[in-house]
Protein backbone atom coordinates (compact mmCIF):
# COMPACT_ATOMS: atom_id res chain seq x y z
CA UNK A 1 0.00 0.00 0.00
CA UNK A 2 1.24 3.44 -0.87
CA UNK A 3 1.51 5.24 2.43
CA UNK A 4 0.62 8.83 1.87
CA UNK A 5 0.33 10.63 5.19
CA UNK A 6 -2.71 12.69 4.23
CA UNK A 7 -4.87 10.09 2.55
CA UNK A 8 -3.72 7.20 4.70
CA UNK A 9 -6.31 7.78 7.39
CA UNK A 10 -9.05 8.13 4.83
CA UNK A 11 -8.07 5.05 2.84
CA UNK A 12 -7.67 3.11 6.05
CA UNK A 13 -11.14 4.09 7.19
CA UNK A 14 -12.71 3.33 3.82
CA UNK A 15 -11.01 -0.06 3.68
CA UNK A 16 -12.21 -0.84 7.17
CA UNK A 17 -15.72 0.31 6.33
CA UNK A 18 -15.95 -1.83 3.21
CA UNK A 19 -14.45 -4.82 4.98
CA UNK A 20 -17.07 -4.55 7.70
CA UNK A 21 -19.87 -4.12 5.18
CA UNK A 22 -18.75 -7.07 3.09
CA UNK A 23 -18.14 -9.38 6.05
CA UNK A 24 -21.46 -8.53 7.68
CA UNK A 25 -23.34 -8.93 4.39
CA UNK A 26 -21.71 -12.31 3.91
CA UNK A 27 -22.91 -13.32 7.37
CA UNK A 28 -26.42 -12.42 6.21
CA UNK A 29 -26.16 -14.28 2.93
CA UNK A 30 -24.32 -17.44 4.02
CA UNK A 31 -27.24 -19.04 5.91
CA UNK A 32 -29.42 -18.59 2.83
CA UNK A 33 -26.68 -19.88 0.56
CA UNK A 34 -26.14 -22.80 2.88
CA UNK A 35 -29.79 -23.76 2.81
CA UNK A 36 -29.89 -23.65 -1.00
CA UNK A 37 -26.66 -25.60 -1.22
CA UNK A 38 -27.87 -28.20 1.29
CA UNK A 39 -31.14 -28.62 -0.59
CA UNK A 40 -29.09 -29.76 -3.61
CA UNK A 41 -27.00 -32.31 -1.71
CA UNK A 42 -27.38 -35.99 -1.12
CA UNK A 43 -28.50 -36.61 2.47
CA UNK A 44 -25.22 -38.34 3.38
CA UNK A 45 -23.29 -35.22 2.32
CA UNK A 46 -25.29 -32.75 4.40
CA UNK A 47 -23.04 -32.83 7.46
CA UNK A 48 -19.90 -34.06 5.75
CA UNK A 49 -16.63 -32.85 7.17
CA UNK A 50 -15.04 -30.85 5.60
CA UNK A 51 -18.33 -29.25 4.55
CA UNK A 52 -19.30 -29.21 0.89
CA UNK A 53 -19.67 -25.56 -0.07
CA UNK A 54 -20.62 -26.68 -3.56
CA UNK A 55 -22.78 -29.81 -3.58
CA UNK A 56 -21.06 -32.78 -5.12
CA UNK A 57 -22.96 -34.35 -6.76
CA UNK A 58 -25.75 -31.84 -7.34
CA UNK A 59 -29.12 -33.52 -7.03
CA UNK A 60 -32.69 -32.35 -7.55
CA UNK A 61 -33.97 -35.43 -5.75
CA UNK A 62 -34.95 -33.46 -2.63
CA UNK A 63 -37.08 -31.04 -4.62
CA UNK A 64 -38.72 -33.85 -6.51
CA UNK A 65 -39.49 -35.59 -3.24
CA UNK A 66 -40.91 -32.48 -1.59
CA UNK A 67 -42.98 -31.59 -4.64
CA UNK A 68 -44.37 -35.05 -5.32
CA UNK A 69 -44.34 -37.08 -2.10
CA UNK A 70 -45.19 -34.21 0.22
CA UNK A 71 -48.03 -31.87 -0.83
CA UNK A 72 -45.86 -28.77 -1.09
CA UNK A 73 -47.65 -27.60 -4.25
CA UNK A 74 -50.83 -27.76 -2.22
CA UNK A 75 -49.28 -25.77 0.65
CA UNK A 76 -48.12 -23.25 -1.89
CA UNK A 77 -51.60 -22.95 -3.41
CA UNK A 78 -53.12 -22.56 0.07
CA UNK A 79 -50.66 -19.84 1.02
CA UNK A 80 -51.32 -18.05 -2.24
CA UNK A 81 -55.12 -18.29 -1.98
CA UNK A 82 -55.13 -17.10 1.62
CA UNK A 83 -52.64 -14.29 1.02
CA UNK A 84 -54.35 -13.01 -2.12
CA UNK A 85 -57.88 -12.99 -0.71
CA UNK A 86 -56.71 -11.51 2.59
CA UNK A 87 -54.84 -8.78 0.74
CA UNK A 88 -57.83 -7.98 -1.49
CA UNK A 89 -60.01 -7.77 1.62
CA UNK A 90 -57.63 -5.34 3.25
CA UNK A 91 -57.30 -3.18 0.16
CA UNK A 92 -61.06 -2.85 -0.10
CA UNK A 93 -62.30 -2.77 3.50
CA UNK A 94 -59.38 -0.96 5.15
CA UNK A 95 -59.25 1.70 2.48
CA UNK A 96 -62.98 2.25 2.51
CA UNK A 97 -63.07 2.58 6.27
CA UNK A 98 -60.00 4.80 6.21
CA UNK A 99 -61.77 7.04 3.73
CA UNK A 100 -64.77 7.35 6.04
CA UNK A 101 -62.59 8.09 9.06
CA UNK A 102 -60.49 10.65 7.19
CA UNK A 103 -62.99 12.38 4.96
CA UNK A 104 -66.57 11.91 6.18
CA UNK A 105 -68.23 13.36 9.23
CA UNK A 106 -70.54 11.20 11.30
CA UNK A 107 -71.52 10.92 14.94
CA UNK A 108 -69.03 9.06 17.16
CA UNK A 109 -66.45 8.99 14.36
CA UNK A 110 -63.52 9.94 16.55
CA UNK A 111 -64.69 7.78 19.43
CA UNK A 112 -64.95 4.73 17.17
CA UNK A 113 -61.54 5.45 15.71
CA UNK A 114 -60.02 5.81 19.16
CA UNK A 115 -61.67 2.55 20.21
CA UNK A 116 -60.03 0.88 17.20
CA UNK A 117 -56.63 2.31 18.07
CA UNK A 118 -56.98 0.98 21.59
CA UNK A 119 -57.69 -2.46 20.15
CA UNK A 120 -54.37 -2.23 18.33
CA UNK A 121 -52.73 -2.77 21.70
CA UNK A 122 -54.33 -6.15 22.30
CA UNK A 123 -51.88 -8.94 21.53
CA UNK A 124 -53.34 -11.65 19.32
CA UNK A 125 -52.80 -14.26 22.04
CA UNK A 126 -55.55 -12.70 24.16
CA UNK A 127 -58.33 -13.42 21.69
CA UNK A 128 -56.65 -16.45 20.13
CA UNK A 129 -58.32 -19.19 22.16
CA UNK A 130 -61.94 -17.92 22.07
CA UNK A 131 -61.44 -17.13 18.40
CA UNK A 132 -60.46 -20.74 17.85
CA UNK A 133 -63.59 -21.75 19.76
CA UNK A 134 -65.75 -19.52 17.54
CA UNK A 135 -64.25 -21.14 14.46
CA UNK A 136 -64.89 -24.58 15.91
CA UNK A 137 -68.50 -23.71 16.73
CA UNK A 138 -69.07 -22.47 13.19
CA UNK A 139 -67.38 -25.64 11.87
CA UNK A 140 -64.89 -23.38 10.16
CA UNK A 141 -61.75 -24.99 11.55
CA UNK A 142 -59.78 -26.78 8.88
CA UNK A 143 -61.43 -24.71 6.14
CA UNK A 144 -60.26 -21.67 4.23
CA UNK A 145 -62.89 -19.64 6.07
CA UNK A 146 -60.97 -19.81 9.34
CA UNK A 147 -57.75 -18.84 7.60
CA UNK A 148 -59.30 -15.92 5.75
CA UNK A 149 -62.41 -14.42 7.36
CA UNK A 150 -60.95 -13.23 10.70
CA UNK A 151 -58.10 -11.58 8.79
CA UNK A 152 -60.01 -9.66 6.13
CA UNK A 153 -59.42 -6.27 7.71
CA UNK A 154 -56.92 -4.82 10.10
CA UNK A 155 -56.83 -1.79 12.31
CA UNK A 156 -53.25 -1.15 11.36
CA UNK A 157 -54.28 -1.07 7.69
CA UNK A 158 -57.06 1.41 8.41
CA UNK A 159 -54.67 3.55 10.42
CA UNK A 160 -52.06 3.47 7.66
CA UNK A 161 -54.54 4.27 4.89
CA UNK A 162 -56.14 7.04 6.93
CA UNK A 163 -52.78 8.80 7.00
CA UNK A 164 -52.72 8.71 3.20
CA UNK A 165 -56.37 9.73 2.87
CA UNK A 166 -55.83 12.76 5.09
CA UNK A 167 -53.45 14.21 2.50
CA UNK A 168 -56.12 14.26 -0.23
CA UNK A 169 -57.53 17.79 -0.67
CA UNK A 170 -61.22 18.06 0.21
CA UNK A 171 -61.83 20.31 -2.81
CA UNK A 172 -61.24 17.37 -5.13
CA UNK A 173 -63.81 15.29 -3.30
CA UNK A 174 -66.32 18.15 -3.21
CA UNK A 175 -65.89 18.72 -6.94
CA UNK A 176 -66.73 15.08 -7.61
CA UNK A 177 -69.79 15.35 -5.32
CA UNK A 178 -70.93 18.44 -7.25
CA UNK A 179 -70.70 16.39 -10.44
CA UNK A 180 -73.26 14.05 -8.92
CA UNK A 181 -70.99 11.25 -7.78
CA UNK A 182 -72.34 9.06 -5.01
CA UNK A 183 -70.15 8.85 -1.93
CA UNK A 184 -68.92 5.45 -3.08
CA UNK A 185 -68.22 6.94 -6.50
CA UNK A 186 -66.14 9.69 -4.90
CA UNK A 187 -64.21 7.04 -3.02
CA UNK A 188 -63.67 4.84 -6.06
CA UNK A 189 -62.96 7.49 -8.67
CA UNK A 190 -61.11 10.12 -6.67
CA UNK A 191 -59.83 8.93 -3.30
CA UNK A 192 -58.73 5.42 -4.27
CA UNK A 193 -56.52 6.43 -7.23
CA UNK A 194 -54.90 9.17 -5.13
CA UNK A 195 -54.17 6.73 -2.32
CA UNK A 196 -52.40 4.26 -4.59
CA UNK A 197 -48.92 4.71 -3.07
CA UNK A 198 -50.43 3.90 0.30
CA UNK A 199 -52.22 0.91 -1.15
CA UNK A 200 -48.91 -0.43 -2.47
CA UNK A 201 -47.58 -0.30 1.08
CA UNK A 202 -50.73 -1.91 2.43
CA UNK A 203 -50.53 -4.73 -0.12
CA UNK A 204 -46.93 -5.49 0.78
CA UNK A 205 -47.57 -5.46 4.51
CA UNK A 206 -50.64 -7.62 4.28
CA UNK A 207 -49.29 -10.09 1.78
CA UNK A 208 -46.08 -10.55 3.71
CA UNK A 209 -47.89 -10.86 7.02
CA UNK A 210 -50.24 -13.47 5.61
CA UNK A 211 -47.54 -15.40 3.77
CA UNK A 212 -45.35 -15.62 6.87
CA UNK A 213 -48.10 -16.10 9.46
CA UNK A 214 -47.67 -19.21 11.56
CA UNK A 215 -49.46 -19.35 14.92
CA UNK A 216 -53.03 -18.91 13.65
CA UNK A 217 -52.83 -21.27 10.64
CA UNK A 218 -50.99 -23.76 12.85
CA UNK A 219 -53.80 -23.77 15.37
CA UNK A 220 -56.75 -23.63 13.04
CA UNK A 221 -55.74 -26.30 10.52
CA UNK A 222 -55.37 -30.00 11.16
CA UNK A 223 -55.25 -31.65 7.78
CA UNK A 224 -52.44 -31.34 5.29
CA UNK A 225 -54.88 -30.23 2.61
CA UNK A 226 -55.27 -26.90 4.41
CA UNK A 227 -51.68 -26.29 5.54
CA UNK A 228 -50.02 -23.10 4.44
CA UNK A 229 -46.31 -23.14 3.60
CA UNK A 230 -44.94 -22.26 7.07
CA UNK A 231 -47.21 -24.83 8.74
CA UNK A 232 -46.30 -27.46 6.16
CA UNK A 233 -42.63 -26.68 6.55
CA UNK A 234 -42.75 -26.89 10.34
CA UNK A 235 -44.59 -30.20 9.99
CA UNK A 236 -42.00 -31.56 7.57
CA UNK A 237 -39.30 -30.39 9.93
CA UNK A 238 -40.83 -32.26 12.89
CA UNK A 239 -41.65 -35.47 11.09
CA UNK A 240 -38.45 -35.85 9.07
CA UNK A 241 -35.78 -34.51 11.38
CA UNK A 242 -33.23 -36.76 9.74
CA UNK A 243 -33.88 -35.64 6.17
CA UNK A 244 -32.21 -32.26 6.38
CA UNK A 245 -31.69 -31.95 2.63
CA UNK A 246 -35.39 -32.43 2.02
CA UNK A 247 -36.28 -29.96 4.75
CA UNK A 248 -34.00 -27.44 3.09
CA UNK A 249 -35.69 -28.00 -0.27
CA UNK A 250 -38.96 -27.18 1.51
CA UNK A 251 -37.36 -24.14 3.12
CA UNK A 252 -36.17 -22.79 -0.21
CA UNK A 253 -39.59 -23.33 -1.78
CA UNK A 254 -41.24 -21.53 1.14
CA UNK A 255 -38.89 -18.55 1.14
CA UNK A 256 -38.36 -18.11 -2.59
CA UNK A 257 -41.68 -16.50 -3.65
CA UNK A 258 -41.37 -13.80 -0.98
CA UNK A 259 -37.73 -13.16 -1.86
CA UNK A 260 -38.55 -12.78 -5.55
CA UNK A 261 -41.40 -10.36 -4.82
CA UNK A 262 -39.09 -8.45 -2.50
CA UNK A 263 -36.28 -8.13 -5.02
CA UNK A 264 -38.69 -6.71 -7.59
CA UNK A 265 -40.47 -4.34 -5.22
CA UNK A 266 -37.63 -3.42 -2.92
CA UNK A 267 -38.29 0.30 -2.96
CA UNK A 268 -41.94 -0.12 -1.98
CA UNK A 269 -41.00 -2.64 0.70
CA UNK A 270 -38.54 -0.32 2.34
CA UNK A 271 -40.79 2.71 2.05
CA UNK A 272 -43.60 0.68 3.53
CA UNK A 273 -41.49 -0.53 6.42
CA UNK A 274 -40.20 2.92 7.27
CA UNK A 275 -43.59 4.60 6.75
CA UNK A 276 -44.87 3.41 10.08
CA UNK A 277 -41.75 4.46 11.91
CA UNK A 278 -41.15 7.91 10.48
CA UNK A 279 -44.50 9.30 9.41
CA UNK A 280 -46.45 8.45 12.49
Amino acid sequence: MNIHPKSFGFTFKRTGLYTLLIVSSLLMIIPFYWSVSTSLKLEQNVFSNPPQWIPNPVTLENYIHVLTRIPFPRYFANSLIVAVITTLGHVFFDTLAAYAFAKLKFPFRDQIFFFMLLALMVPFQVNLIPLYKIMATLHWTDTYLALIVPNLTSIFGIFLMRQFMLTIPNELLDAARMDGCTEFGVFRKVALPLALPGIATLIIFTFMGSWNDFLWPRIVTNSEKLFTLPVGLAQLQMKNTSNVAQIMAGTVLTALPMIIVFLFMQRQFIEGMTAGALKE
Partner: protein, 296 residues
Protein backbone atom coordinates in the same frame (compact mmCIF):
# COMPACT_ATOMS: atom_id res chain seq x y z
CA UNK B 1 -89.79 16.66 20.84
CA UNK B 2 -92.62 14.55 19.46
CA UNK B 3 -92.24 11.00 18.36
CA UNK B 4 -92.77 11.92 14.71
CA UNK B 5 -90.12 14.60 14.80
CA UNK B 6 -87.85 12.16 16.49
CA UNK B 7 -88.32 9.49 13.87
CA UNK B 8 -87.94 12.05 11.08
CA UNK B 9 -84.69 13.11 12.57
CA UNK B 10 -83.64 9.48 12.74
CA UNK B 11 -84.54 8.87 9.08
CA UNK B 12 -82.60 11.96 8.14
CA UNK B 13 -79.61 10.78 10.17
CA UNK B 14 -79.69 7.38 8.56
CA UNK B 15 -79.79 8.94 5.11
CA UNK B 16 -77.03 11.33 5.94
CA UNK B 17 -74.70 9.12 7.92
CA UNK B 18 -75.75 5.63 6.88
CA UNK B 19 -73.19 5.49 4.10
CA UNK B 20 -70.37 6.36 6.50
CA UNK B 21 -71.39 3.60 8.86
CA UNK B 22 -71.70 1.24 5.92
CA UNK B 23 -68.13 2.10 4.91
CA UNK B 24 -66.76 1.24 8.33
CA UNK B 25 -69.18 -1.64 8.98
CA UNK B 26 -67.02 -4.60 7.99
CA UNK B 27 -63.91 -3.62 9.96
CA UNK B 28 -66.02 -2.58 12.93
CA UNK B 29 -68.02 -5.79 12.90
CA UNK B 30 -64.86 -7.81 12.44
CA UNK B 31 -63.32 -5.98 15.38
CA UNK B 32 -66.30 -6.69 17.61
CA UNK B 33 -66.81 -10.32 16.63
CA UNK B 34 -63.21 -11.45 16.25
CA UNK B 35 -61.49 -9.30 18.83
CA UNK B 36 -63.73 -7.57 21.33
CA UNK B 37 -66.05 -10.48 22.18
CA UNK B 38 -63.22 -13.06 22.27
CA UNK B 39 -61.31 -10.71 24.54
CA UNK B 40 -64.14 -10.63 27.07
CA UNK B 41 -64.71 -14.37 26.75
CA UNK B 42 -61.01 -14.91 27.34
CA UNK B 43 -61.13 -12.73 30.45
CA UNK B 44 -64.07 -14.77 31.74
CA UNK B 45 -62.33 -18.06 31.00
CA UNK B 46 -59.23 -16.86 32.81
CA UNK B 47 -61.40 -16.87 35.95
CA UNK B 48 -62.53 -20.42 35.29
CA UNK B 49 -61.31 -23.95 35.21
CA UNK B 50 -62.22 -24.71 31.62
CA UNK B 51 -61.19 -27.45 29.24
CA UNK B 52 -63.47 -26.58 26.33
CA UNK B 53 -65.07 -30.00 26.60
CA UNK B 54 -66.85 -29.86 29.94
CA UNK B 55 -68.64 -26.95 31.59
CA UNK B 56 -66.50 -24.16 32.97
CA UNK B 57 -66.04 -23.97 36.72
CA UNK B 58 -65.61 -20.54 38.26
CA UNK B 59 -62.44 -20.37 40.33
CA UNK B 60 -61.98 -16.63 40.77
CA UNK B 61 -58.39 -15.47 40.60
CA UNK B 62 -57.01 -18.94 41.22
CA UNK B 63 -55.42 -19.29 37.79
CA UNK B 64 -53.58 -16.00 38.22
CA UNK B 65 -52.52 -16.82 41.75
CA UNK B 66 -51.25 -20.21 40.70
CA UNK B 67 -49.38 -18.77 37.71
CA UNK B 68 -47.72 -16.01 39.67
CA UNK B 69 -46.90 -17.86 42.86
CA UNK B 70 -46.92 -21.57 42.30
CA UNK B 71 -46.00 -22.40 38.70
CA UNK B 72 -42.25 -22.83 38.36
CA UNK B 73 -42.44 -23.40 34.61
CA UNK B 74 -44.39 -20.20 34.11
CA UNK B 75 -41.90 -18.29 36.26
CA UNK B 76 -39.13 -19.79 34.13
CA UNK B 77 -40.98 -18.85 30.94
CA UNK B 78 -41.48 -15.30 32.17
CA UNK B 79 -37.81 -15.05 33.03
CA UNK B 80 -36.74 -16.56 29.71
CA UNK B 81 -38.95 -14.17 27.78
CA UNK B 82 -37.59 -11.19 29.69
CA UNK B 83 -34.03 -12.38 29.06
CA UNK B 84 -34.88 -12.87 25.40
CA UNK B 85 -36.20 -9.29 25.23
CA UNK B 86 -33.28 -7.79 27.15
CA UNK B 87 -30.60 -9.62 25.18
CA UNK B 88 -32.26 -9.11 21.83
CA UNK B 89 -32.94 -5.44 22.48
CA UNK B 90 -29.41 -4.78 23.62
CA UNK B 91 -27.95 -6.24 20.43
CA UNK B 92 -30.51 -5.72 17.65
CA UNK B 93 -31.05 -1.94 17.61
CA UNK B 94 -27.34 -1.28 18.22
CA UNK B 95 -26.47 -3.46 15.26
CA UNK B 96 -29.16 -1.71 13.26
CA UNK B 97 -27.78 1.71 14.10
CA UNK B 98 -24.19 0.69 13.36
CA UNK B 99 -25.07 -0.78 9.96
CA UNK B 100 -27.28 2.21 9.14
CA UNK B 101 -24.42 4.58 9.97
CA UNK B 102 -22.06 2.56 7.78
CA UNK B 103 -24.52 2.69 4.89
CA UNK B 104 -24.96 6.41 5.40
CA UNK B 105 -21.27 7.05 4.57
CA UNK B 106 -21.96 7.40 0.83
CA UNK B 107 -20.77 3.86 0.15
CA UNK B 108 -20.95 2.23 -3.24
CA UNK B 109 -23.48 -0.55 -3.72
CA UNK B 110 -25.18 0.62 -0.54
CA UNK B 111 -28.55 -0.69 -1.74
CA UNK B 112 -26.96 -4.10 -2.26
CA UNK B 113 -25.70 -4.20 1.32
CA UNK B 114 -29.05 -2.95 2.55
CA UNK B 115 -30.75 -5.80 0.68
CA UNK B 116 -28.47 -8.28 2.43
CA UNK B 117 -29.39 -6.96 5.87
CA UNK B 118 -33.04 -6.77 4.99
CA UNK B 119 -33.47 -10.14 3.31
CA UNK B 120 -34.19 -12.14 6.51
CA UNK B 121 -36.70 -9.54 7.71
CA UNK B 122 -39.20 -10.42 5.04
CA UNK B 123 -38.50 -14.13 5.30
CA UNK B 124 -40.85 -16.18 7.42
CA UNK B 125 -39.60 -16.89 10.94
CA UNK B 126 -40.32 -20.57 10.38
CA UNK B 127 -37.93 -20.54 7.41
CA UNK B 128 -35.23 -18.65 9.30
CA UNK B 129 -35.58 -20.94 12.32
CA UNK B 130 -35.40 -24.05 10.14
CA UNK B 131 -32.19 -22.82 8.54
CA UNK B 132 -30.63 -21.96 11.90
CA UNK B 133 -31.68 -25.28 13.31
CA UNK B 134 -29.49 -26.87 10.64
CA UNK B 135 -26.61 -24.47 11.29
CA UNK B 136 -26.83 -25.23 15.03
CA UNK B 137 -26.83 -29.00 14.45
CA UNK B 138 -24.21 -30.93 16.36
CA UNK B 139 -22.41 -31.51 13.08
CA UNK B 140 -23.62 -28.27 11.52
CA UNK B 141 -21.71 -25.40 10.02
CA UNK B 142 -21.02 -23.54 13.29
CA UNK B 143 -19.44 -26.54 14.95
CA UNK B 144 -17.42 -27.30 11.82
CA UNK B 145 -16.04 -23.76 11.93
CA UNK B 146 -15.25 -24.13 15.65
CA UNK B 147 -13.40 -27.36 14.95
CA UNK B 148 -11.42 -25.61 12.20
CA UNK B 149 -10.08 -23.37 14.95
CA UNK B 150 -9.38 -26.36 17.16
CA UNK B 151 -12.25 -25.56 19.52
CA UNK B 152 -14.67 -28.13 20.97
CA UNK B 153 -18.16 -28.57 19.61
CA UNK B 154 -20.95 -26.58 21.27
CA UNK B 155 -24.43 -27.91 21.98
CA UNK B 156 -26.05 -24.75 20.63
CA UNK B 157 -29.58 -25.90 21.26
CA UNK B 158 -29.00 -28.95 23.44
CA UNK B 159 -27.15 -27.20 26.26
CA UNK B 160 -29.73 -25.55 28.55
CA UNK B 161 -27.26 -22.80 29.47
CA UNK B 162 -26.78 -21.79 25.85
CA UNK B 163 -30.01 -22.63 24.03
CA UNK B 164 -31.80 -19.36 24.77
CA UNK B 165 -28.79 -17.30 23.72
CA UNK B 166 -28.61 -19.28 20.48
CA UNK B 167 -32.23 -18.46 19.79
CA UNK B 168 -31.64 -14.78 20.58
CA UNK B 169 -28.79 -14.81 18.07
CA UNK B 170 -30.90 -16.26 15.30
CA UNK B 171 -33.68 -13.80 16.11
CA UNK B 172 -31.39 -10.79 16.07
CA UNK B 173 -29.94 -11.96 12.77
CA UNK B 174 -33.46 -12.20 11.42
CA UNK B 175 -34.71 -8.87 12.65
CA UNK B 176 -32.02 -6.19 12.88
CA UNK B 177 -32.32 -5.33 9.17
CA UNK B 178 -35.62 -3.68 9.99
CA UNK B 179 -33.84 -1.38 12.38
CA UNK B 180 -31.09 -0.75 9.80
CA UNK B 181 -33.65 0.41 7.28
CA UNK B 182 -35.59 2.57 9.72
CA UNK B 183 -32.44 4.19 11.12
CA UNK B 184 -31.00 4.74 7.65
CA UNK B 185 -34.14 6.59 6.55
CA UNK B 186 -33.98 8.69 9.71
CA UNK B 187 -30.27 9.43 9.28
CA UNK B 188 -30.85 10.56 5.72
CA UNK B 189 -33.44 13.04 6.88
CA UNK B 190 -30.95 14.87 9.14
CA UNK B 191 -29.90 18.06 7.31
CA UNK B 192 -26.26 17.93 6.13
CA UNK B 193 -25.81 21.57 7.09
CA UNK B 194 -25.95 20.63 10.75
CA UNK B 195 -22.86 18.46 10.35
CA UNK B 196 -21.12 21.06 8.21
CA UNK B 197 -21.71 23.74 10.80
CA UNK B 198 -20.49 21.42 13.55
CA UNK B 199 -17.32 20.65 11.61
CA UNK B 200 -16.71 24.38 11.15
CA UNK B 201 -16.88 24.67 14.91
CA UNK B 202 -14.29 21.92 15.15
CA UNK B 203 -16.57 19.14 16.42
CA UNK B 204 -15.06 15.69 16.03
CA UNK B 205 -16.84 12.54 14.88
CA UNK B 206 -17.89 11.58 18.41
CA UNK B 207 -19.18 15.06 19.26
CA UNK B 208 -21.18 15.08 16.00
CA UNK B 209 -22.69 11.75 16.84
CA UNK B 210 -23.39 12.72 20.43
CA UNK B 211 -24.85 16.18 19.82
CA UNK B 212 -26.44 15.89 16.35
CA UNK B 213 -27.13 12.30 15.32
CA UNK B 214 -28.33 10.93 18.63
CA UNK B 215 -30.75 13.76 19.52
CA UNK B 216 -32.15 13.74 15.97
CA UNK B 217 -32.71 9.99 16.14
CA UNK B 218 -34.22 10.00 19.62
CA UNK B 219 -37.86 9.54 18.58
CA UNK B 220 -36.99 6.81 16.08
CA UNK B 221 -34.81 5.03 18.63
CA UNK B 222 -37.67 5.03 21.12
CA UNK B 223 -40.07 3.78 18.46
CA UNK B 224 -37.71 0.96 17.48
CA UNK B 225 -37.20 -0.14 21.08
CA UNK B 226 -40.87 -0.15 21.98
CA UNK B 227 -41.99 -1.94 18.82
CA UNK B 228 -39.12 -4.36 19.36
CA UNK B 229 -39.99 -5.01 23.00
CA UNK B 230 -43.67 -5.58 22.25
CA UNK B 231 -42.82 -7.94 19.40
CA UNK B 232 -40.12 -9.81 21.34
CA UNK B 233 -42.38 -10.45 24.31
CA UNK B 234 -44.59 -12.42 21.93
CA UNK B 235 -41.77 -14.65 20.67
CA UNK B 236 -43.14 -18.01 19.57
CA UNK B 237 -42.27 -19.26 16.06
CA UNK B 238 -38.53 -19.59 16.74
CA UNK B 239 -39.15 -21.52 19.94
CA UNK B 240 -41.69 -23.79 18.30
CA UNK B 241 -39.35 -24.73 15.46
CA UNK B 242 -35.94 -24.68 17.11
CA UNK B 243 -36.40 -26.02 20.64
CA UNK B 244 -40.04 -26.68 21.58
CA UNK B 245 -39.24 -24.86 24.80
CA UNK B 246 -36.51 -27.29 25.82
CA UNK B 247 -34.12 -28.55 26.96
CA UNK B 248 -35.67 -28.63 30.44
CA UNK B 249 -37.78 -25.51 29.80
CA UNK B 250 -34.65 -23.44 29.23
CA UNK B 251 -36.28 -21.81 26.19
CA UNK B 252 -39.93 -21.91 27.19
CA UNK B 253 -41.47 -18.45 26.70
CA UNK B 254 -44.79 -16.91 27.71
CA UNK B 255 -46.51 -17.55 24.39
CA UNK B 256 -44.94 -20.97 23.99
CA UNK B 257 -46.22 -21.94 27.44
CA UNK B 258 -49.62 -20.54 26.56
CA UNK B 259 -49.64 -22.65 23.39
CA UNK B 260 -48.61 -25.66 25.42
CA UNK B 261 -51.48 -25.18 27.90
CA UNK B 262 -53.87 -24.61 25.00
CA UNK B 263 -52.81 -27.93 23.52
CA UNK B 264 -53.36 -29.55 26.95
CA UNK B 265 -56.92 -28.14 26.82
CA UNK B 266 -56.35 -26.00 29.89
CA UNK B 267 -58.12 -23.10 28.25
CA UNK B 268 -58.84 -21.14 31.42
CA UNK B 269 -55.22 -21.34 32.52
CA UNK B 270 -53.99 -20.42 29.04
CA UNK B 271 -56.33 -17.42 29.00
CA UNK B 272 -54.89 -16.20 32.28
CA UNK B 273 -51.40 -16.43 30.74
CA UNK B 274 -52.66 -14.36 27.81
CA UNK B 275 -53.92 -11.67 30.18
CA UNK B 276 -50.65 -11.53 32.07
CA UNK B 277 -48.88 -11.02 28.75
CA UNK B 278 -51.45 -8.38 27.88
CA UNK B 279 -50.76 -6.55 31.14
CA UNK B 280 -47.03 -6.49 30.38
CA UNK B 281 -47.60 -5.21 26.85
CA UNK B 282 -50.10 -2.55 27.92
CA UNK B 283 -47.32 -0.85 29.84
CA UNK B 284 -45.15 -0.63 26.74
CA UNK B 285 -48.06 0.27 24.46
CA UNK B 286 -48.96 3.08 26.83
CA UNK B 287 -45.39 4.35 26.61
CA UNK B 288 -45.57 4.18 22.83
CA UNK B 289 -48.82 6.13 22.71
CA UNK B 290 -47.38 8.80 24.95
CA UNK B 291 -44.29 9.05 22.81
CA UNK B 292 -46.16 9.27 19.52
CA UNK B 293 -48.43 11.90 21.02
CA UNK B 294 -45.35 13.85 22.04
CA UNK B 295 -44.17 13.72 18.45
CA UNK B 296 -47.49 14.67 16.87
Amino acid sequence: MTVIQHSRKLTYSIQKYGISYLFISVPLLSLIVFLFIPMIVSLWWSLNDYSGLTAAKFVGLNNYIKLLTDDKIFAKSLLNTTLFVLLGMSIGPTLGLLTAMMLNQKVRFSSLFRTAYYLPVMTSLVVVSTIWLMLYNRNGLFNVVLQEFGLPKVGWLSNPDIALISIVFASVWQGFGFETVVFLAALQSIPRELYEAAMMDGAGAWAQFRYITLPALRPVILFVYIIGIIGSYQVFDQIFVMSSGGPVYSTSTIVYYLFDKFMDLRLGYASAIAYILFAILVIFSYLQMRISRERA
